[in-house]
């Protein structure tokens, strides 16, 4: 076996066991302190936390807008806001939730914090670029806020032409904001790809990569390839508005359907930018809380890549009734079904992982199970919408609204909450109340279904989306949906309270509260500045819970400038053997 050894001289590896102390002498927060240190930090963990804070802030804003929309829809015609304001609010709700919350949520916040630790690196490959991408994000967000103050935008987040070239609202600020945010997304993707290729610890083969990282890898590829198309699209839109060149506006000789092709060429893959990282989190959570090897590791890993690639070829399913050619619609429908297959198989694999596991219903796991419930409904209704003749009836109705909320909120946002609860103790060193965590999760589950399942019925009965006013027969269902939004709100308020309590007065967390096996759980309660005082060496798969934790603690004395403060045990012979057999 040693003929295929990774090094010519295995004993030169000098493997030792390193056990990080429960509490680091100086964790990453203590290492650099003060506002200035935070704003100029190149530490991926602090940048991740700054993203996290921004995303939570924008989620709050977007969420409050949603509550206002639902309240206005309590009755037809005017209840408390006028039609123009309503149109601006749903545009902002969509734009904020997609560009400022969902796209960056998992990659930029949780991914930034954990990707380098999970590959055993000190930081991402380009730490300064990472900080730059955060500032580009803030700068893009600033443009969005300016557009809010400067007359807002009333086009819907899709900015369809020719309405968007004609409306008197602040389209230019908003689209430039989207343009800038795109660069942040591209740079983060680039950073992750290089980090995953170049900075993995010895022994961390692609087959031992935690599935969360596989999903971030697939996501990053889409971010790099698709986002430039969005940039081109909004740039052309801005040029048409300001210079009057006719690209999309038929009055100037352009084609409005062309805009839709451009827009969805980015925005459909963007749906996978938003959901793939969520898949990654669900894989981690289900494995940890089932204490079991994940079922179909390679299938889950490769299906993320398959989804990323096929996902580029389905954009036209947003346009079955737009006037694109019939043949195109047929091809897009078929491709849409094909992308559904790997997604479905992932769900079967997660369920199979529960079989003969040792299942513990902690808050992150509750969210993972909620994810399976809601996302499966989102998937099946996606099949419904991919079906040509049925989509003619359902397109641009509340059915579509319900479907993408099941996928985006029931899928990605729930997965984000699962990840937040999984990694909260590692990020902040504090535990939160499991009791209140579970209560909030159940409330969100109930509120979510009340709000959005109702909208499937509204939609299939013919209620169009983006309607301020509606015919009387839809009122009861609208009211039920609005009540659901309040239940959701209560759920989120409870989360805000117990997480705030955890930060201020929470119990100290153990460094590995869930008994995980991936590298982040081997660091101290809150990791040190450059994550490890040694170079970790990975000898086992990420979900090999049957191996004792000591098997995961091997490493090489690093060229690190810190003295490692952990105990080290010379047990090199065994570890070397494992490395060479890997």
């Amino acid at each position: 076996m040693s003929s295929t050894a990774h090094t010519d001289n295995p004993s030169a590896l000098n493997l030792k066991r390193f056990v990080a102390p429960e509490v680091a002498e100086q964790n990453f927060m203590q290492a650099e302190q003060g506002i200035k240190a935070w704003l100029t930090t190149i530490d991926h963990k602090k940048i991740g936390l700054m993203y996290l804070a921004s995303i939570i802030f924008f989620f709050f804003v977007g969420g409050m807008l949603a509550i206002a929309l639902r309240l206005e829809l309590w009755g037809p015609a005017k209840n408390f806001i006028d039609a123009e304001t309503y149109n601006q609010i749903f545009t902002l709700h969509g734009a904020i939730m997609i560009f400022l919350v969902l796209v960056p949520s998992v990659p930029a916040a949780l991914g930034n914090f954990f990707l380098p630790i999970m590959v055993g690196a000190k930081d991402v490959a380009f730490p300064r670029l990472n900080l730059l991408s955060f500032y580009i994000y803030l700068f893009g967000a600033l443009f969005t806020i300016i557009s809010m103050i400067n007359g807002a935008v009333d086009t819907g987040w899709t900015f369809y032409t020719p309405y968007s070239t004609g409306t008197s609202t602040s389209v230019i600020w908003m689209t430039l904001g989207v343009f800038i945010l795109g660069f942040s997304s591209i740079l983060t993707g680039l950073n992750f790809i290089v980090t995953l290729h170049k900075l993995r610890s010895p022994g961390l083969t692609w087959g031992r990569l935690p599935l969360f990282l596989w999903s971030l890898y697939a996501t990053s590829i889409i971010q790099i390839l698709a986002t430039p198309v969005l940039a081109i699209t909004v740039l052309l839109l801005v040029m048409e508005r300001t210079l009057g060149i006719g690209i999309f506006d038929p009055a100037l000789g352009g084609d409005p359907v062309l805009y839709q092709h451009f827009f969805w060429f980015y925005s459909h893959p963007a749906v996978y930018i938003m959901i793939l990282p969520g898949f990654g989190i669900i894989s981690e959570v289900i494995a940890i809380f089932s204490k079991r090897r994940i079922f179909g590791y390679w299938f889950i890993a490769i299906s993320s890549l398959a989804i990323a690639l096929i996902g580029f070829l389905v954009w036209g399913h947003h346009m079955f009734v737009s006037g694109q050619s019939t043949l195109a619609s047929v091809v897009f429908s078929l491709m849409t079904f094909l992308v559904g297959i790997p997604t479905g198989i992932k769900i079967f694999n997660w369920v199979a992982t529960l079989y003969k596991g040792s299942i513990q219903l902690k808050t992150p796991m509750i969210y993972a199970l909620i994810f399976l419930f809601l996302f499966t409904i989102g998937g099946f209704t996606g099949v419904m919408l991919g079906t040509l003749s049925v989509d003619v009836h359902l397109h641009d109705t509340y059915y579509v609204v319900a479907h993408f909320h099941y996928v985006m909120m029931g899928g990605m946002l729930i997965a984000f909450l699962a990840g937040l609860h999984l990694w909260w103790p590692k990020m902040f060193g504090k535990m939160y109340s499991q009791f209140w965590g579970n209560i909030a999760a159940v409330l969100i589950f109930i509120g979510f279904n009340m709000t959005f399942f109702t909208q499937f019925i509204l939609g299939s009965r013919g209620m169009p989306r983006r309607y301020y006013n509606y015919v009387d027969q839809f009122q009861e269902l609208h009211q039920f949906s609005t009540i659901g939004s309040w239940v959701l709100l209560v759920g989120f308020i409870i989360i805000a309270i117990y997480l705030a309590h955890s930060l201020l007065r929470g119990e100290d967390a153990p460094k590995n509260p869930w008994n995980g096996r991936t590298l982040e759980w081997l660091t101290s309660r809150q990791p040190v500045l450059e994550n490890f005082n040694y170079t970790p060496v990975v000898l086992h798969g990420p979900y090999d819970f049957h191996e004792p934790i000591s098997e995961f603690q091997y490493g090489i004395e690093g060229s690190h400038h810190h003295d490692h403060s952990g105990d080290s045990h010379g047990d090199a012979t065994k570890a070397e053997k494992a490395v060479t057999n890997a």
């Binding site: 008197s168 009055a251 079991r292 003749s389 641009d396």
Partner: protein
């Protein structure tokens, strides 16, 4: 199955609605069966394999080829059925029979206008039952989308280009009192949600009678009364009230002869010339505190119609 359909779906009033509804129900039932299976499996596993001690030994089995082939091939098989079914119906929805009765549709922010071969025009859609009807649609401003839930048809209405849908309305039941709506389903600005109107399904002979009654100005009809008819047919009432209430545009009540102040500070008296210009070139003068939202009706109203509308406004 029909019960399920009638809970989720609006009444089926076209000949194509039946097969679309069957497919909708088929997908729902198959999905529900698989979904319930998944949920039962999850609940069972969570209870059966709940953690008993920290030292629970779990299965190391991480793949099973027959199982994975099974759950890849079965969905693929189901999806081919669904795709093919949806695909063939979609083609049928696209190919209007050659003997279709054609109606021209104009979408504008925020009203619909329907023009019939006899010269009749209306802002509600009148169709004969039992005969295929093809709508030839175009927009004068932004994108709109023509949607009749009861017929299961929808298509975008695009400026500078014709698109079409067809349907065959079923004979209305004598007792039917529910309204069939036309909705605009492509967001088109402030009053997008008011861009709705009704479909009136006639029996063949009553449709012809309706056409006769609404084709142009009958010789004995006073000009102002014809103007009132055009006011409804062309969709003016979406934005202009007759009772003084404020809608998107100014009310017609007491409009004639009034002094109008415009956004640029200038003013004019609302005489015949001003009203004519406001219809044909609405943005030449925009009344203060109102948006420049009105599309031009240039080329869409005959001289007689313009005079009739002016006479009608004089009377308000």
């Amino acid at each position: 199955m029909d019960k399920l359909g009638s809970f989720f779906l609006p009444p089926a009033k076209s000949t194509m609605a039946g097969t679309v509804d069957q497919l909708f129900n088929f997908i729902n039932i198959v999905s529900a069966v698989i979904f319930i299976g998944i949920i039962i499996a999850i609940v069972y596993f969570v209870i059966r394999y709940r953690r008993r001690t920290e030292n629970d030994v779990t299965s190391l089995n991480d793949h099973n080829t027959p199982l994975e082939v099974f759950w890849s091939v079965i969905p693929l098989f189901l999806i081919v059925i669904v795709f093919y079914w949806g695909f063939t119906d979609y083609l049928r929805l696209h190919e209007a029979p050659s003997n279709s009765y054609e109606i021209n549709v104009t979408g504008r922010s925020w009203s619909w206008q329907f023009n019939y071969d006899s010269g009749a025009a209306s802002n509600e859609l009148h169709v004969p039952a039992g005969r295929p009807v093809k709508l030839i649609m175009s927009s004068v401003d932004v994108l709109h989308s023509f949607y009749v839930p009861d017929f299961r048809v929808k298509h975008d209405v695009i400026p500078n280009r014709y698109t079409s849908v067809w349907f065959e309305a079923k004979e209305p039941e004598a007792a039917a009192t529910d309204t069939s709506w036309v909705f605009c389903t492509e967001y088109c600005g402030r009053s997008h949600s008011d861009m709705i109107t009704k479909v009136i399904i006639h029996k063949e002979d009553s449709f012809n009678k309706w056409l006769d009654e609404n084709s142009g100005r009958p010789d004995d009809m006073p000009l102002a009364e014809y103007g009132g008819q055009l006011y409804n047919q062309l969709g003016c009432q979406t934005c202009h009230s007759l009772d003084g209430s404020r809608k998107v545009g100014p009310s017609f009540q007491g409009l004639y002869g009034k002094n109008r102040v415009f956004t640029d500070g200038s003013s004019l008296t609302a005489d015949e010339n001003y009203i004519r210009q406001s219809i044909l070139n609405p943005n030449a003068h925009v009344v203060e505190s109102y948006p420049a939202a009105m599309p031009s009706y240039q080329g869409q109203i005959q001289e007689e119609g313009l005079n009739a509308i002016i006479e009608f406004i004089k009377e308000q």
